[in-house]
Each structure stands twice: as structure tokens, then as C-alpha cells.
């Protein structure tokens, strides 16, 4: 694999920008975790709300930078020609950098209550979760999205020649721009403001990013495993359609308690319960595609992160999302730490890991370093993966006791009643966060210096176990039956978690105030789900590693240094 089109190289700067933003986002995240544990930390110097705004905004921005990088890298391959108007892409990059710096700066103004009101709009910062950026930055971002959509559509072949991946990415980049527009107006009522805020947040994630995600996963699997575009196309079409069929009305799960009518509880509970379907579908296809042939994986880190993306999409978005999507469970989980447990796994897992996976695929190709030392990438994967699962576990368990103290007992003194009982979980967030941050450091070091480091002879290439006979035990090939058993196991724990949240409605808990049932169910459900997730990924990767036969590895390594 080598670069076929020169403009593919434009993706490099976006991947590097992604890494820089990721470092800052993780840094702000660690600070937030420390402030959760000690709310007085840096109070008055940089308040929690400012740090959180930076953490959320940078999180969205680095995911977008990763998407743009991946789209630019595969765009020419999909179109069999160079990108249209590369100068626009360069302009987009600098505009993005300036906007990010500007936005990071203006968020600080919330400390003194400056929003920059002019013509009825907040121009400097908006103070709404996820869309904190002020109108000035919003408009530049709108122009940026328009540029991306224009370049992608101009680069693609005529519509009559489009396959499903073209359609997915084409619709994705246009919808990215269109959906953003709903966040560009100041709305004076809370219910309508929240209604449209979720247009941006939910439809971006569920309607647009998911579509880009499915298309990119499809394309990367084609590149990694050389699978049939047609079978991937089938998965992409039905994946996207299922996402929309469930997610369109599924948005109603955000409209339960914001002042909109009760009927949303019915529609939201019904349709968002279907939202995991496309994720199961996508998950299953990754299994099929990865096991289509017995060739060794050439680029293990890239596949690790793509697998991580699909699995965490299943666990974070699919299962944890499902547990809290019913009106009867959401009435308890809403507005507690249960929500960030889902949010962190779903957002970083699904979209963040995809961007990193794409970077691991593209960067070695662009640097002509296909024989790069894959050990650091694998280590970074395991640290990020387990670190994020640990963060989610801390949020989920902390959220469960928070529901009991705050909702069941109605004790609303956070400093005096709610925090003390959440204490141990508040400490667990920064601990898991440190593990994650270590992973960020190794990942960034590896990707930035990949192909530029002096390779030590002993450590070069893979240190695969030399499997001469057919592998057995933990590393034996994963059958479809076994994979479906793992998936069933995950959903079983998901069901336990759901029952745990439901049990807050029981007389025993709600009136008598006995939390034993929800505590036990959460205590089994969350750790069980996260443990089985780790084991499954370990098992999946072990079965793939095992098929790497030593002679092919050596032959490849001998060819590569060019």
C-alpha cells in the first residue's frame, strides 16, 4: 500500500491537529476529574464550567479533525482522482486552527458573564452544553463544513457512478453542514431551545456522524482486509437506513422532561430502544469482514482501534444507551452521572477511536513506514480502551448512588449529602483518567514520530508468537457462534443494568428507601458488562493475531524498507 494520489497527503495535517487537540482535551478532562474530587481546585481561576466547555468542545473538534483527515484520505481513492481545490482544504485547516484557538479563549469569558450579545445573539460564547461556541465561531465553522462538503462532492465521480460509500460520505458531509444550522439561533424559551439543541447534538451523532462512521468503517475494512466492496456496500446501506429509522424518532428520548408533551415518552421509549439494531448489524459485519479470509493483519493498531470503535459503539452507545432510554429508567438516570458513563464510551469509543484507527492506517502509508513498530500502538490501544472503560465504570457506579441520594431521598445538598456518598467513585474517575492519559501520551508519541524514529533492529516489526500448527484455546479462530455468545453476554449484563435502573420505581426502593436491589444489580451489571467487553476484545484480537503466520511477516518486513 502506498500513496496513489498526492492530495491524500493533505489528511496528514488534520490527523496531527487531531492529536494535539486530543492531548488538550484529555488534559482538561483530567483537570475536570480532579475538580469533581475537589470542587475548590482552581475555583475563581478557571472554574469547572469553563474547563468543561473546553473539554466538550475540544472533544467534538478533534473527532471532526479525525473525520476530515479520514475523508480526505479515502476521498481520492473513492473517486480515483485528486481532491478538488486543495487550496480550499489548506484554507480550511488554518481557519479551523484559528477558530479553535479563538473558541478556547472565549469560553473563559463565562467566568465574568460575558456572552457578547449583539443583534440578539451571543457572539463570544453561548453557554449551552455541547454548543458553547459563540456565534462568531459558529459561522466560521459553518463555512468550514460548507468547504468540506464542496470539496468532497466536487471530488466524487458523477452521482450515477456512486456506490453506497459515496452516498454515505456524500450525505454525511452535507448533513453535517445542514444540521449545524439549527444551533445558530438564540431561542428565548427553554423547551424550544432544548428541542433544537438536540437537533444539533443528537442528529449530529445519531444521524450524521454515525453515517460517516459506518461509511468510513466500511471503507477502512475494504482497505485493511481487501474485502468485497459489494458486501460492505450492503452493510453500509442497511446500517445507515437502520440508524435513521430508529434514530430519527429516537431523538424523542431527549424530549421526555424538557417541557414538551408527555407523548414523546411513548415514541422515544419505543424507537430509541431500536437504536442498538444498526449497531448490532455493524458489529456483526465487522466480525464477518474480519474473518472473511485468513490473511494476517498487516496493520494491527489500525484494526485494534476500528474494532474498539465498533465494540464501544455497541457497549457505550448501544447497551448503555438502551438501559437509560426508557421513560421509566430515564426518569431516574436523567441529569445524573449515569449519563456521562454512556456519553464517554459512546463518543470517544465510537468516533474518537475511528479517527485514531484511520490515522494509524493513513500515517504509515504517507510516511512510507509500513513496517513500523506496532507495539506502542497496541499498548496505547489497551491503555485508552481500559482507561475509558474505567472512567465509565466510575461514572456509572457513582451515578447509581447519586440517584439514590439525590432522587430517591431527595437530598439536594451536593456538598453535604450527595458528594460524601459518591466519594470513592469521584476518586476513581481521575485514577482511571490517569491510565487513559498515559495512553494518550503513548499514542501521540507513536503517531507523531512514527516512521521518524530510529528503529532498533531487535524490536523492529512484529514479535508475533511463531504459531506453526493450528492455534488453539484462547487464540483459536473465533466462530460466528462464539461471537454471538459474547454479544449475548454483553446484552445480558445490559439487561441487568436496565432492571437495576427500573428497580428504583419499586415500592421497596422508592418509598421504603432500601437501595439494596438497584445497588446489587448495578454492582453486577456495570462491572460485568465492562469486564466481558475487555475479555471479548482480547479474545477477538487473539484469534486474529494467531492467523498471522511468521513467514509472511518476515517476507513483508524484508520488502518494506524502501
Amino acid at each position: 500500500m502506498q500513496i496513489q494520489y498526492n492530495t491524500q497527503r493533505l489528511s496528514m495535517r488534520f490527523f496531527m491537529l487531531m492529536l494535539v487537540l486530543f492531548v488538550f482535551q484529555a488534559g482538561f478532562g483530567l483537570l475536570l476529574a480532579a475538580q469533581q474530587a475537589d470542587p475548590m481546585l482552581l475555583a475563581g481561576i478557571i472554574n469547572f464550567n469553563v474547563v468543561r466547555a473546553e473539554h466538550l468542545n475540544l472533544g467534538l473538534l478533534w473527532i471532526l479533525a479525525g473525520f476530515i483527515g479520514a475523508i480526505l484520505f479515502v476521498g481520492p481513492l473513492l473517486s480515483k482522482r485528486e481532491l478538488a481545490s486543495p487550496w480550499l482544504i489548506k484554507f480550511l485547516f488554518y481557519a479551523l486552527v484559528v477558530t479553535i484557538v479563538w473558541n478556547v479563549g472565549t469560553q473563559y469569558l463565562a467566568m465574568e458573564g460575558t456572552a457578547g450579545w449583539w443583534a440578539g445573539q451571543p457572539w463570544l460564547q453561548e453557554g449551552l452544553e455541547y454548543i458553547e461556541a459563540g456565534r462568531a465561531a459558529d459561522l466560521v465553522i459553518l463555512i468550514g463544513f460548507s468547504i468540506l462538503a464542496y470539496v468532497v462532492l466536487r471530488t466524487f465521480p458523477p452521482v450515477s457512478e456512486w456506490n453506497e460509500i459515496h452516498w454515505g460520505l456524500g450525505i454525511g458531509v452535507v448533513a453535517l453542514t445542514v444540521v449545524w444550522v439549527f444551533g445558530l439561533f438564540y431561542i428565548p424559551t427553554i423547551d424550544m431551545q432544548e428541542y433544537f439543541r438536540w437537533f444539533v447534538v443528537h442528529y449530529w451523532v445519531e444521524g450524521v456522524w454515525e453515517v460517516i462512521h459506518i461509511s468510513l468503517v466500511g471503507m477502512l475494512l475494504v482497505l485493511l482486509f481487501k474485502v468485497d466492496v459489494k458486501s460492505v456496500g450492503f452493510a453500509v446501506f442497511w446500517g445507515v437506513l437502520l440508524v435513521w429509522l430508529s434514530g430519527l424518532i429516537g431523538n424523542a428520548h431527549h424530549y421526555f422532561w424538557i417541557g414538551t408533551p408527555e407523548f414523546w415518552q411513548f415514541w422515544g421509549s419505543l424507537f430509541s430502544a431500536l437504536e442498538p439494531l444498526p449497531l448490532i448489524f455493524c458489529f456483526w459485519h465487522v466480525y464477518l469482514d474480519a474473518h472473511q479470509n485468513r490473511k494476517p493483519i498487516e496493520n494491527a493498531p489500525a484494526f485494534y482501534f476500528i474494532l474498539g470503535s465498533v465494540v464501544l459503539e455497541q457497549v457505550g452507545a448501544g447497551i448503555l444507551g438502551f438501559t437509560m432510554t426508557f421513560a421509566l429508567t430515564n426518569v431516574w438516570s436523567h441529569g445524573t452521572w449515569i449519563t456521562p458513563a454512556h456519553g464517554h464510551l459512546a463518543l470517544f469509543g465510537t468516533f474518537g477511536m475511528l479517527g485514531i484507527g484511520a490515522a494509524y492506517y493513513a500515517v504509515p502509508v504517507m510516511r512510507k513506514a509500513l513496517d513500523f513498530d506496532q507495539r506502542l500502538g497496541k499498548l496505547a490501544f489497551w491503555l485508552l480502551f481500559t482507561g475509558m472503560l474505567g472512567i465509565a465504570l466510575a461514572f456509572a457506579l457513582g451515578g447509581t448512588v447519586q440517584i439514590y441520594a439525590y432522587r430517591t431521598l431527595g437530598l439536594e445538598w451536593f456538598g453535604g449529602d450527595v458528594f460524601p456518598i459518591m466519594g470513592i467513585y469521584k476518586m476513581l474517575v481521575p485514577v482511571a483518567g490517569l491510565l487513559f492519559t498515559l495512553g494518550v501520551g503513548i499514542l501521540v508519541f507513536d503517531l507523531v514520530t512514527l516512521g521518524k524514529r530510529v528503529r532498533s533492529l531487535a524490536g523492529a516489526g512484529e514479535t508475533e508468537p511463531l504459531v506453526s500448527h493450528s492455534p488453539h484455546g484462547w487464540a483459536k479462530p473465533l466462530t460466528g457462534y462464539e461471537a454471538s455468545m459474547w454479544l449475548t453476554g454483553m446484552w445480558l449484563f445490559g439487561a441487568i443494568i436496565t432492571l437495576g435502573l427500573l428497580s428504583f420505581n419499586l415500592h421497596m426502593v422508592r418509598v421504603e428507601g432500601n437501595p439494596i436491589l438497584p445497588y446489587v444489580l448495578a454492582g453486577i451489571g456495570y462491572p460485568g458488562l465492562l469486564l466481558i467487553t475487555v475479555l471479548f476484545v482480547w479474545r477477538f484480537l487473539a484469534s486474529l493475531e494467531a492467523r498471522a503466520s511468521a513467514p509472511m511477516r518476515l517476507g513483508e518486513a524484508a520488502l518494506a524498507p524502501a
Binding site: 464550567n49 450579545w117 460564547q125 452544553e129 427553554i190 464477518l288 431516574w332 456538598g415
Partner: protein, 324 residues
């Protein structure tokens, strides 16, 4: 699961059907959305809700300008560091909020809440003018004053102007008026004592009881003979520092450091010396002489709340504060 080559699985037809169903979903969603915002539903309207002269609609802009949602939640959305504010007005009421917001780093004492009730706007909004009735109407305020009053909070002081405080209260009055369809769920676990006992198995109840009684005991027990010490105590009890800095910084009102004996320029153009008479007047009848650059009607009148000796003690305390 996929359609293999050569097999006829009517793929094109299935896909068309799928897209038609999607169109149906879009229609359902649009219809439901239309119903949600019909005028006849009687949604709470921020333009029709006010607190004194302050509009809820303005309060929403203040709420966003300080990114309150970055720590608190509103209708359950936002960060999860601090409590949900949707029903805060119903819980604690306007007088407690007016006492709390100017200096959010400290929990208001009963004296501070009572002071706010002397403000006719606050009393009119609360619908009661004495603290006993207020506690009956807003039981959350009593719980907070008794358990937390005089202690420090985990919220940083924000530089709200007096207008912004009023606007935020109006905004929370609006959010409390919204129909959130039964969220947050009603608490059914009984009395506060029972709920605290459930939380920490009884030991906690003792701890909070001591914590709550501590500041009260301190204030009520020995009245110090030294007027400066007494003034300092009263300053704490009445949360004067919610609006006045102990150095010469301007907060909601003028700073106290070095104020005594200085020349003060008034709004009517004249200049006076800040002596005992002036400062006593400033406490018991603040609108008589308004300092230049400060709006009238912000500082409550303490004539009925404080005894003459207490006012003198506070003035003595002010006198003891030097410019840094």
C-alpha cells in the same frame, strides 16, 4: 446477512421500501413536533414572568452568559457537578435566592433571608412578609438555613450585578413554572430526618445537627463586649459581605476597607465624610444618601432588623477595617 453475488434478493425493491418507511417516520416526527409547540398547550412563557422589575427572558441570557449549565443542570441537561435548577424557585423561593446569589460562596443565614423579605419586591413575589410564613411556603429554604446557614458552599463567587440577580430569579421562576411531566420524580421516602438516616445510617444525622447548630450557637451565646468583635459577628450573620468587600473593592455595594473617615461623593453631587452618623444612616436608611455610581433601592433597610447597638457595632467593625 448480505446479498451474495448472483442471488436475486430483490435488493433494490427492499431498499425503496425502506426509504418510504423513513419518509413516514419523518412525517410522524414533524407532526409530533408541531403539536409540542401549539399555543393552546399553555406552555410557560418567559415574556409573561417577572420578578419585581426583572424579566425572565433577560434572566435566560444571564444564565447562558455565565454558562450556569456548565456546572448545574437545567431540565436535567448540563453538567452534573451541581444541583438541578429547574425547580429551585419552588424549593427555596425568591428571598433565599436573593440572599444567596450575590455571594454564592456562602450559605445564607436566616437573618440574611429575613433581610431580603423586608424588600417589598421580594415579599410581594413570595406572597409572604415574615420568615415563618416564608418557611411554610418554601420548606426548602428552612432546611437550607438550618442545615447549611453560615457555612461555605462549593460554588465560586460570581460577580452578578444586582440586576442580574433579579433576572436570574425571574428565570428560575419561569423554569419552575414549566410542566416537566413528572421529572424530577417526587420524593416519597418521608421526612428529612428519615431520609438522612437512610443515607448514612443515623450517624450522619448527628453530624449535620451539630454542624447546623454550631454557627447559631456561636452567634447567640456570649455576646462579646467588644463592639468590633460583635460587629464582625453580625456581619457574618447578616451576610453583609455578600455585597460588601472587606477591602476597598467594589462588589454590589462599596467596599468597607478604609471607608471610615474617607470622603464619599454622592449621587446628588455633594460630598460627605463617612463618619458614624453617615454610616449608621447608610445601614438603617440606605436610600437617603446614595453613593455616586450605585443604583438606589438595592441595599435593604435594616432599621427594623437591627438594634441600635448592633448598628453601632457594625459601624465600629467597619471603622476597624483598613485600606489594604
Amino acid at each position: 446477512m448480505s446479498c451474495a453475488d448472483g442471488k436475486n434478493c430483490n435488493e433494490a425493491k427492499k431498499r425503496r421500501r425502506g426509504i418510504i418507511v423513513l419518509g413516514l417516520m419523518i412525517m410522524i416526527f414533524i407532526i409530533l413536533s408541531g403539536f409540542s409547540f401549539l399555543g393552546s398547550r399553555g406552555r410557560a412563557n418567559p415574556d409573561a414572568i417577572s420578578f419585581g422589575a426583572h424579566q425572565a427572558a433577560d434572566g435566560k441570557r444571564v444564565f447562558q452568559a455565565y454558562n450556569c449549565m456548565g456546572c448545574h443542570t437545567m431540565v436535567g441537561n448540563g453538567a452534573y457537578l451541581a444541583p438541578d435548577l429547574t425547580k429551585e424557585y419552588t424549593t427555596a423561593g425568591p428571598a433565599w435566592l436573593a440572599a444567596f446569589l450575590p455571594s454564592a460562596a456562602g450559605w445564607p443565614t436566616e437573618a440574611a433571608v429575613r433581610t431580603q423579605l423586608t424588600n417589598s419586591d421580594v415579599a410581594a413575589d413570595a406572597g409572604v412578609d415574615n420568615i415563618e410564613d416564608y418557611y411554610k411556603k418554601f420548606p426548602g429554604a428552612r432546611e437550607r438555613v438550618e442545615r447549611r446557614g453560615g457555612g461555605t458552599t462549593l460554588m465560586p463567587n460570581l460577580a452578578f450585578s444586582s440586576d442580574e440577580v433579579g433576572q436570574l430569579i425571574a428565570f428560575m421562576k419561569y423554569s419552575a413554572a414549566m410542566n416537566t411531566e413528572g421529572w424530577p420524580p417526587e420524593v416519597k421516602t418521608g421526612s428529612l430526618e428519615r431520609r438522612l438516616a437512610l443515607l448514612n445510617g443515623g450517624s450522619h444525622m448527628l453530624a449535620t445537627a451539630t454542624a447546623a447548630s454550631a454557627p447559631v450557637a456561636e452567634g447567640a451565646s456570649a455576646t462579646p463586649a467588644d463592639p468590633v468583635a460583635r460587629g464582625e459577628e453580625l456581619t457574618k450573620e447578616y451576610a453583609c459581605t455578600a455585597c460588601h468587600a472587606l477591602d476597598d473593592k467594589r462588589m454590589v455595594g462599596p467596599g468597607w476597607g478604609g471607608l471610615y473617615g474617607s470622603r464619599v461623593k454622592l449621587a446628588d453631587g455633594s460630598t460627605v465624610t463617612a463618619d458614624d452618623t453617615y454610616l449608621i444612616d447608610a445601614v438603617i436608611a440606605p436610600d437617603k444618601q446614595i453613593v455616586e455610581g450605585f443604583p438606589p433601592g438595592v441595599m435593604p433597610k435594616y432599621d427594623t432588623l437591627l438594634k441600635d447597638d448592633d448598628v453601632k457595632a457594625i459601624v465600629a467593625y467597619i471603622k476597624s477595617l483598613e485600606k489594604p
